[in-house]
Subunit: 234 residues, 4 copies
């Protein structure tokens, strides 16, 4: 293929999003980096070759349709979609509002639905494609502080499973990686300044595994894998 | 206690909802039966002693607040909440709309959040209470036909877990029962008219187990249990 | 039925075993209480009507065959088998021996296999029967201190599942209950004397739930349920 | 490091074992290939550079001790242990014998225990090491035909988890990969000759993923991942 394959990373901020953009660009992809706010992306575009930035609220159907049309037109059909948007308010049942639950669900689950729907027809036509989703241990269990977050991640994980089972036979590899630990970010470093360096999940290490999973041949695909720092108490 | 304990069943229609209403009324509860449409409830009120009917859309915060205030005023504080609302459009990723995903999530997850939030303060004050939620195998895995439904049930299950872990130590017993099979309803009988009687999950049998779980002493509570017909292939 | 139904409890000691014997005797069963050592059983036989004691090492095929033949001859065909034998040495990989692993596996898994095999033909002939197995959270996950125990409980749980799926359609109800907490025993009370009374899982409460699950009609059977004290951190 | 790192593959036969030997040899490892029967290994030794063959019954403590001592002496301390031994008799409860259960447990679980115990002290001293275990979907659920196999794989999976949690903080990466599908072997091809080529899990594809997981930096380790052919119905 003369053309570079296209990878879209949804939810690019400092951390996993940036590392995913970097590694796919290094490996020869043309990368579309999406965030709600373009400001977060400008330094990536200037620092890394092969990165284009798009402002997009992944929970807004109209925006998603429009931005993914632009990407197709600008870069070509999407080969790999990495859905990394996802957040949630911490707190117990009385600490979170119905808006908190809804927002968490929309950014984790509805956004995955909308973006997957945008890329799947072209992937099916090509008979090839990857959709990787950033998960969390909260996708497996609800705790008192994850009233809003766990329900959203649980929904996201099962949506990813439904898509994986439906589109696997079409040649599309859908996978879900469960981060179990604290990601190394300026914010988490500040909050947990007493922790040693190796306490943290490094975004570049996460991104390297995501890239490796995308390389699996169709004969042996992984749907789900966990990632945690070696010292994590799990 | 001179007063009858109060049980609220949310999502009463033919099937599990009706059976839950019946058994709790028989066992001496004052039962509030909720459905979006009062028409579905009038025969229950006239047939069974100790049942009051309320129209309520469980996904509407204002309605939930108002109806649960009425229930408290009419019947007293709620001791047992049974959340039985839940549905979802069948189909693959391209067959369901964002509205289908949202509706399924709202009725399964947001409704549980809103109604649990309405009853928990009085339960905590009393130091006792039950919240039971009607689950499904789709809460554990996503299949190609459950794009909308599985994400909603997965979210619901983890929300129930979060509440169970937060409010267990306060004396509130939260549990989730996973129906694995086809519930015996006029509609399913019609669709699967070739199936023998014992193919179906009987609503009265489900309700009997729900009632038994509500009787567990705090020393040995169940959070999750499955229910399936003996012949089910699982 | 003029004859009392027969219940066999395997692994009777202070705690769950005794409580299971008591409740099934109270409810009208003829109960066969099995332990490796008859001394543990004599007080039960003298205190409770309808209890017969048998010495049996459940991991010894010859003994199991012989004792279950005696039970059939003495009391009639077994309607309910409760497999409560199970133990395991605590410790890390270097702390436990191959004998510890083997012993834990034999008492939890091989014993279930041998005793289930002894009762199933008569149950199949009758078209009815219950097999309940005492599980533990260790059946779901291995921790550093459960090197010997978790592998044994994990094996036991999947063996129970295999039997449940094979014999459900024959009318035999197989279930597994997962104890998540510290059972109230003289030994655990002594070791954890600082804990309040309600910290412990009470054997009578466990036995009551086991009995209730045995009453489920074939239309809605539970395979697995958890039991934990209300204050447990899970 | 001037010396080649040492990888031991336990349970080498046609299929996954051979492919693991090949890829680790290609990547620069000195590989010790173990099987009960040396005959199975001679062609590998002659075909591939860097492979040494050892006869070893992994369920025999004395043999394991002796063979792993030889390996250390011959090749140096083991950096990577791949436990690929594992089999089980198919059949329902009445079709399998206690010997079938025991043999399956010994080869899947006891053998992992014995070989892990042989390599861990040197790994801990080095502060680095990998232990990978070949799992199966049967490690997650018991079916009517897996009475002997599922209990053994369930035990093996939880043993691997216990070791992973205990030795992760020491720098040892333990992981479990769940094969969900039919592995491409002469025997399975013959039995399922009507299936297309892409129906099968290819051993080389499995081995490539195992190798990739061994490369993960300690900041982001995977314990468990599944592998299945793209068209698998799961």
């Amino acid at each position: 293929m003369a053309e570079k394959p296209v990878c879209v990373v949804v939810g690019v901020g400092p951390g996993n999003g940036e590392s995913l953009v970097r590694i796919f660009a290094q490996k020869g992809y043309q990368v579309a980096a999406l965030a709600r706010n373009l400001d977060r992306l400008t330094h990536l575009v200037s620092e890394i070759d092969g990165v284009a930035a798009y402002a997009c609220d992944a929970t807004n159907p109209g925006e998603v349709d429009q931005v993914f049309s632009e990407i197709s037109r600008d870069l070509g059909p999407v080969e790999t979609l990495l859905y990394n948007a996802g957040s949630g308010t911490w707190g117990g049942l009385m600490d979170v509002s119905e808006e908190d639950l809804k927002r968490a669900w929309k950014v984790n689950t509805m956004g995955l639905f909308l973006t997957a729907r945008s890329v799947l027809p072209a992937m099916v036509e090509a008979g090839v494609g990857n959709i990787g989703v950033t998960g969390a241990t909260a996708s497996l269990r609800g705790k008192p502080t994850t009233t809003a977050f766990a329900q959203a991640k649980g929904a996201q994980r099962l949506l990813a499973q439904s898509i994986a089972r439906e589109y696997g036979p079409e040649g599309i590899h859908v996978f879900y990686f469960i981060l179990d630990g604290v990601v190394d970010l300026p914010a988490t470093r500040k909050m947990m300044s007493e922790q040693p360096d190796d306490f943290f999940l490094k975004p570049d290490a996460i991104a390297a595994s995501v890239y490796a999973i995308c390389q699996q041949p169709p004969s042996a695909w992984t749907f789900e894998f966990d990632l945690r720092p070696f010292g994590e108490n799990w």
